[in-house]
Amino acid sequence: MSPSLEVGLYVFVLATFLGLEIIRRVSPLLHTPLMSLTNAISAITVVGSILVAGEQKTTLSTVLGTLAVTCSMINIVGGYLITYRMLRMFRKSGKDRR
């Protein structure tokens, strides 16, 4: 096993446990915003997509990369915006929102 793979697996295992611990604490009230936020975060695929689209190695890879950047960007823009919009709707008794 190469050292970078080994580190990668450590990172994956630790991040999974950390995720389980943090997300267990999210109030069920906010489960919909949670899903739209994690969806936006998983649009981190944009990192790989940008590289493939920008390296311009073959026509195929550039086309696939450009499509992938578009898909990721939709989720970044759409995901963060809608999560913010949802959260702005939650208000406590006696307080009007905005």
Partner: protein
């Protein structure tokens, strides 16, 4: 110099994502979480754009503009459409991972080491299957496709065969990376499996399925992290994967079912069984009579369900909440974890209608309070209120945790007709002596309840 700054930006991004999810634990800090999450994403994008490998920015810029142009309308969708919007964005996320995996394969094959190939196969498999599965889920939620489960004999055998073949071709690719022609087969099988996986799943199982797809999309991103040797992708993917996993477990528990049962158990098969029961009497009431009962009440618990979302009744429900609260009546909302079509669906709908979130109470917290409630008002919920789940061993929903609405002094059910709910199970709640049925469209009925209530005081 710039090369050395990039890893720091990535580490900053990873920390922001973790902080974003941590701050989502309470409403008070949640908005801050979104801002930090977005800042983290900006760091990651900035860092990537600085990489020296990038030859040209032209297509990246085009994709940024196109993605933003589609992303903004997707963020402006009404809250009733959030489940299908979420399914669609799972599809985009998974497609991005699958496309990058495909590009990487054709750039480097057959010079790919075994481990990288394993991660790549996983990325492509999960990416493509989640893509079509999410599109199918979108179709069902948008009601372009039939929402009832579609089943046939040998369905599971066929599905497992497709999955088995996909996994086998993936394994072959790992062993023999020069079998380049096998790659399209792998992709095609994964796409097909995604479609087949969702065909037998009904609307009410969507909360679990959508959570599971959330998890898969995250795992595909993590697999991409292994292919590209990028720790940020691994962390973000793992966070998303664990979030989807927790939500699916919560959803399964709330239905007293297992993953395998949701995915391969086809809930629809019980449909025919309840039909043969004899006609039993129900007490129906007009909105005037119902408003009279509400006027005499001092504690009311409202139980919203998917029917409220379908009828777009949440704003009328807010008016009723306002009227009752003004009359000094204590009104709370009992939220079952699987009410609606995705986790937390009822909460965002009611929050959108401007109902304070401290009035929304979870099942475990509210169940003991039904005994003290004067009225339990059920709006568009069905199976989650069926007392048969507690005692009838023959009922398909036996063992499912339910809201104990039948313990309230009066149960009021707003329902279109006596037709059974999604699972085709007769709800014995409707035949209790203390139950009043108010028939009609939820929006119209709640609207006239508000009018009658105001007129009577």
């Amino acid at each position: 110099m710039i090369d050395r700054a990039i890893p720091l930006l990535y580490i900053g991004a990873a920390a922001s994502f973790i902080l974003a999810l941590k701050w989502l634990s309470t409403v008070a800090t949640a908005r801050r979480g979104v801002v930090v999450g977005a800042a983290g994403m900006a760091l990651a994008v900035a860092g990537t754009l600085m990489k020296p490998e990038i030859e040209s920015y032209r297509w990246i810029a085009v994709a940024f503009v196109a993605g933003t142009a589609i992303g903004i309308p997707m963020a402006m969708m009404p809250m009733t459409a959030v489940p299908q919007r979420t399914a669609l964005s799972h599809a985009f996320g998974a497609l991005a991972a699958a496309l990058v995996g495909t590009a990487e394969f054709y750039l480097h094959a057959p010079a790919i080491d075994r481990f990288t190939m394993g991660a790549l196969v996983l990325e492509v498999l999960l990416g493509f299957l989640t893509f079509t599965a999410s599109l199918m889920a979108f179709g069902k939620l948008q009601e372009i496709l039939p929402t009832r489960p579609i089943t046939w004999r040998g369905q599971n055998i066929l599905n497992f065969t497709i999955l088995g073949l996909a996994v086998a071709s993936g394994a072959y690719l790992v062993a023999r990376p020069d079998a380049i022609r096998l790659f399209p087969v792998l992709g095609g099988l994964a796409l097909a499996f995604g479609v087949m996986l969702i065909i037998p799943i009904g609307g009410a199982d969507m909360p679990t399925v959508i959570s599971l797809l959330n998890s898969y999309a995250g795992l595909a991103a993590a697999a991409m992290g292994f292919v590209l040797d990028n720790k940020l992708l691994i962390i973000a993917g793992a966070l998303d994967g664990s979030s989807g996993l927790i939500l699916s477990v919560i959803m399964c528990r709330a239905m007293n079912r297992s993953f395998t049962n949701v995915l391969f158990g086809a809930f629809g098969q019980v449909q025919a069984t309840g039909a043969s029961q004899e006609q039993r009497a129900v007490r129906s009431a007009t909105p005037e009579e119902a408003a009279g009962v509400l006027q005499a009440a001092s504690r009311v618990i409202v139980v919203p369900g998917y029917g409220m979302a379908v009828a777009q009744a949440q704003h009328k429900v807010r008016e009723l909440y306002d009227a009752l609260t003004k009359a000094g009546i204590d009104v709370r909302f009992a939220i079952h974890p699987v009410a609606g079509r995705m986790p937390g669906h009822m909460n965002v709908l009611l929050a959108e209608a401007n109902i304070p979130y401290d009035r929304l109470v979870e099942m475990e917290e509210v169940n003991s309070d039904f005994a003290q409630a004067d009225v339990a008002l059920v709006i568009g919920a069905n199976d989650v209120t069926n007392p048969a789940a507690r005692h009838d061993r023959n009922s398909p929903i036996y063992g499912m945790p339910i809201l104990d609405v039948d313990k309230a002094r009066t149960v009021m059910v707003i329902k279109r007709s006596m037709s059974p709910g999604f699972a085709g199970i007769d709800n014995e709640l409707y035949y209790l002596d203390r139950t009043l049925m108010v028939f009609g469209d939820a929006k119209a009925v709640v609207g006239s309840l508000v009018k009658e209530f105001a007129g009577g005081t």
